[in-house]
């Protein structure tokens, strides 16, 4: 740890190593790999292996494996070398497979810090350098002191500033390194966030590598137990209502468990949430076990989405997302996603303020939105709702007879109501610099993006829409497409002309 901090001042071109503690990281990575392996090995051992391997050798075996891991971790640490030069960062790694990664500064998009639990006691960090290219090309050093991590980040940022020859606005601000705290989240906020946003999948997502094993295990167990269960159930006279009550109970327990998991996931991920602004950069710090730092340059933010689902709306909270480009592979796992900066469950006022901090003078919540045409509602009705209702009606009449009208009408009513609300919400507006989109059914989402960030424009018209002078607009941003259907051409045409003028004549950068 000290070896790396010493060379901070010199910016030497000599190869250097990580902190010796990084052995812990390599060990942990191996351990994680072995756990998924063990799920195969342990049943195999239980079933047949114990005949082949005497149980007295077992401790020896474990010891040997442990020693193997330790040695390979030390070797990995020993062979991991990196250098920070004035042109970029280079990494040599691998014991048998030597890989050489060469990262010029201009290719580095983002510098991210993580602190896994095994680095917390001595305050070391994992530094991940995101590149614009494929996900495979990201580079990480595990186990550097926070001072050195900061140094790497500053070096990258300084190189970026020198390259982008726009000395005008931000350079003065960004040289001052004072942090401005924008937002903090309390445990209460996080619990609210857990309730309103089902974050079960975060917990499930971390289990993803083991899915196959787990489901396989469950199926095997179920198959093994099946004869017994059948015999048992056949002997008892099990009343149907008993099964019914049991399954309802199980469902409720599952729901509660899900909610708890969700709250757990939220706290795990966002504990100690701090959003700060440092010059032209936004930095998010959070995490209970694994501290994570994600930073996003202000100019890289493509879109701000204020999302409020029905439950959020009831509680008056908003999830605010800032999104940057998603080139390369999209990572569905939010824990690792660096292209999105989420401010969880803020109040409406806070969300408006934070959005304004990124997109100054935005008016997302104060615009008069041009509603999309009512024909959208009719189209949804004709194309989806009526055929689906007809199908559902047919089935329920077959099964229930005349009473089948009831569920059919219920389904029809609910679908029509939801679609109507959805149509009513959907609207688009724009001012001199931004385009705003309002969406939602019961909740309200406000999206806001600068005209100047548009990458590509799509206009779609069916023959019917053409006759009615309507078109579906698609604004392709580096963070994805924003689609607004059934916009009146009178509104769309000047807007498109304005976007194209803004992009093609003024030629603003998007990064």
């Amino acid at each position: 740890m000290t070896t790396s901090t010493e060379s901070v001042q010199t910016t030497s071109t000599q190869w250097q190593r990580l902190s010796p503690w990084s052995v812990l990281h390599f060990l942990f990575v191996q351990l994680r790999q072995s756990v998924s392996f063990a799920i195969y090995v342990i049943p195999a051992y239980v079933v047949g292996g114990h005949k082949l391997i005497d149980s007295e050798y077992f401790p020896l075996l474990i010891l040997a494996m442990g020693a193997g891991w330790a040695i390979s971790s030390v070797l990995k640490y020993y062979f991991f070398q990196f250098t920070v030069t004035d042109k970029g960062i280079a990494i040599r790694s691998g014991v048998l497979d030597r890989t050489f990664t060469d990262l010029p500064y201009e290719r580095i998009q983002n510098v991210k810090f993580d602190q896994p639990f095994y680095f917390r006691f001595n305050d070391l960090l994992i530094v991940t350098l995101d590149t614009a290219g494929s996900a495979k090309q990201e580079a990480r050093f595990a186990g550097v002191s926070s001072a050195y991590a900061q140094f790497v980040k500053d070096t990258v940022m300084r190189a970026h500033r020198q390259q982008s020859a726009t000395p005008a606005e931000d350079s003065a601000a960004s040289t001052t390194t004072d942090e401005e705290l924008l937002n903090e989240r309390s445990i209460r906020d996080l619990i609210l966030h857990g309730i309103t946003n089902n974050r079960v999948w975060i917990v499930l997502g971390t289990l993803a590598p083991f899915y196959e094993q787990i489901s396989g295990f469950i199926f095997r167990q179920m198959n093994a137990l099946r004869p017994q269960a059948e015999a048992w159930l056949g002997e008892q006279v099990v009343a149907l209502w008993y099964v019914g009550v049991m399954s309802v109970l199980i469902a409720i327990v599952l729901l509660i468990l899900m909610a708890l998991f969700s709250i757990g996931g939220s706290v795990l991920m966002f504990y100690g949430y701090r959003l700060t602004r440092q010059g032209d950069k936004y930095i998010r710090n959070s995490g209970l076990l694994n501290r994570q730092e994600v930073s996003m340059k202000r100019s890289r933010v493509q879109i701000a989405r204020q999302q409020q689902d029905w439950l959020d709306r009831l509680l008056g909270r908003v999830n605010l997302y800032f999104e940057q480009n998603v080139t390369g592979r999209t990572n569905p796992n939010e824990l690792k996603a660096t292209h999105k900066l989420l401010v969880p469950s803020v109040t409406v006022v806070e969300s408006d303020e934070l959005t304004s901090n990124v997109f100054s003078a935005q008016q997302a919540r104060h615009m008069n939105f041009e509603p999309i045409h009512k024909r959208y509602f009719w189209r949804q009705l004709m194309l989806w709702i009526l055929p689906l209702t007809a199908l559902a009606g047919f089935v329920s009449f077959k099964v229930l007879g005349a009473t089948g009208a009831l569920p059919t009408l219920l389904i029809l009513g609910v679908m029509v109501a939801l679609t109507y609300l959805h149509w009513q919400r959907w609207g688009i507006a724009s001012d001199a610099t931004y385009i705003y989109v309002r969406k939602g059914i019961i909740g309200i989402d406000y999206w806001c993006f600068p005209l100047a960030k548009v990458q590509q424009i799509e206009v779609r018209q069916s023959l019917f829409m053409r006759r009615r002078q309507l078109s579906t607009l698609g604004f392709v941003l580096a963070s994805g497409r924003v689609k607004v259907p059934f916009v009146a051409t009178d509104f769309a045409a000047p807007l498109i002309a304005r976007v194209l003028y803004e992009v093609e004549v003024k030629k603003p950068g998007w990064m």
């Binding site: 990458q455 590509q456 799509e458 392709v476 002309a497 003028y501 030629k507």
Partner: protein
Amino acid sequence: MEHASVTNHPLYSQELPCLGELPSEPISPGYRKLNLAVTAFFSLLVFTVLLVVAYQPWFTLPVKLEFSLGVAGAITALLGGLIFTYHYFADRLIYYTLREQDIVLFKGLLFKKVICQPMLRIQHIDIQRGPLERLAGLATLKVYSAGGSDHTLAIPGLPEETAEKMRQFVLNHSDLTRD
């Protein structure tokens, strides 16, 4: 920031209802011919194979198989017919416009689609030529932006020479050497 020399006339004028009325040029008619020929060839090929299997003199087929051969034949005919009809009408409707500051693509039979890609936002550009396209002397020009691979602008059925010229034009465009 300000470039006085930039011109881009048609953009800000009133003749721009959804880019719909720009002067545009069609892609090569060879593209439609190629698609029609390929569709017809493969449908007929599959159909012939099915026929041969059904009526070969060497062994008798089980009834079930005979029936499913009939179904497969019907599906082939239907799909082939549909794809053929689609290309027959839709391929004539693919147009493009290369302007000073952007590339515009028009396409679609029932759903008209107009895609406009500003030069400034082009990340890279390449020409793709499959074996059949090569046979017909055609090429597909692909224009990539930071919007991701789902939003790649692809102009199919360009004569090789045109595609190459367009690529050069885009590569030489001053916007591509910026930032």
